[in-house]
Amino acid sequence: MELFADLLLIAVGAALINNFVLSYFVGICPFLGVSRKIDTALGMGLAVTFVITVAGFLSWTLTEFVLRPGAPLASAVWRMLGGEGGADLSVLSYIAYIFVIAASVQFVEMYVKKFFPPLYKSFGVFLPLITTNCAILFACLLIMKEVVGGNWGLAESLTLPIFGGLGFTLAIVLMAGIRVELDLADVPKPLRGAPIAMLTAAILALAFLGFTGMGASLKQALTPAAAEPPAAVAAVEVQR
């Protein structure tokens, strides 16, 4: 129950409250570039969700076993080489994540090309560009922070990318729906193209801001014990 509540909080947080695009501003390039038609937007969103999940899983594995301070695999190698204590490879983490992401994008590209050729054509240049999609590196970095801090296991590390990806899909599909209508509107000339898309995103972000209060109330509803925190915890909360 405890785990389920945690996972639900992470899921709602990643998909709605702190939406990747509208609150963290990661993944803006495809959000503006591939949001002209609803079905392309949906395909892009699902591709990103898939890549982000694969990359999230790989980054958890890497962080847990190789990169975090005192990780078992790295430490074993380190001791074999005659070192003492645990190894800390966290300085290599950015380079390792970029490698992992590039590899998973390559994998998805081959898969889509083989099984969904029309989708592959409609993606065009944006599929390889998923490599430089900040949303994916961002998810890896969030996972790394929590895993190194010792807070998250595999379940949490998979929930975040899956629902973060679904939140991205939601945002990009909503945006595409609005932009289809926007094509019929008479937009002032200097604002055409990217500027009006930004202004639309601003209104969308304003709407998503409405989810902010949801996190705290959901937490209260899910964990009745947390509603009345012990005196010591309450004191710490006040000090903050």
Partner: protein, 220 residues
């Protein structure tokens, strides 16, 4: 030095000169306003001037180092592995910048959070390595990187100025608006970022169109 041996003869230094590259990066080909690159940091860290300028400094360090290094090894690049080499070069310099920030500006490093490592996927840097670094000599690559860094500074500075003054009534933490003017708190929140950047992009388009019209009138 090994690097000097692979240096190609001076004949490859065709194309725009250093001065042209430098000036183009600031306004005519401004990376954010004209090319729509590097949107992520432009929106994410511009709630106030201080984090925005720290971000510009970190990005400029990575951009200049990566562009010059790519330019020095351009004779060794294989076409199909080029992007991978760029990315790894950039990731290395970003790690250095990240460690430096954490060592000397710890509060700023905490405030910027994941956006410092996200410099790796900043399209401006890859675009400059691809367009200039992998084709021209280190001197021009350096000028190009400095010009684009200044353009990036211009973009982040203008967005952060609008957002901080309207949102908190301060600039660099110094009060500039009188107390009686209400603060638009939404400007320092995510929607304000989209709003400010959207309107500034529109302004940039309008200025460019006006300049083009005037140039046409002078010629005609």
């Amino acid at each position: 030095m090994a690097v000097a041996e692979v240096e190609l003869p001076a004949a490859v230094d065709e194309g725009p000169t250093a001065a042209e590259r430098f000036l183009a990066g600031i306004l005519p080909e401004n990376p954010v306003f004209r090319q729509l690159l590097g949107m992520c940091p432009t929106l994410a860290v511009t709630a106030a001037m201080k984090p925005a300028l720290t971000m510009v400094a970190a990005t400029a360090f990575v951009l200049i180092s990566a562009n010059v290094l790519v330019s020095l090894i351009r004779g060794l690049l294989k076409p199909h592995l080029r992007i991978l080499v760029f990315t790894l070069t950039i990731a290395t310099f970003v790690t250095i910048a990240d460690r430096l920030l954490a060592a000397f500006l710890y509060p700023m490093s905490v405030a910027l959070g994941p956006y410092v490592p996200l410099i790796i996927v900043n399209c401006i840097i890859i675009a400059r390595c691809e367009v200039c670094g992998s084709k021209q000599g280190p001197g021009r690559a350096f000028a190009d990187a400095v010009g684009n860094s200044l353009g990036f500074l211009l973009a982040l500075g203008s967005v952060a100025t609008v957002r901080e003054i309207l949102g908190m009534g301060t600039w660099f933490g110094l009060p500039v608006l009188p107390e009686m003017i209400p603060r638009w708190v939404v400007m320092v929140m995510p929607p304000g970022a989209f709003l400010a950047l959207g309107l500034l992009l529109g302004l940039a388009n309008w200025l460019e169109a006006r300049r083009a019209r005037r140039a046409l009138r002078v010629e005609g």
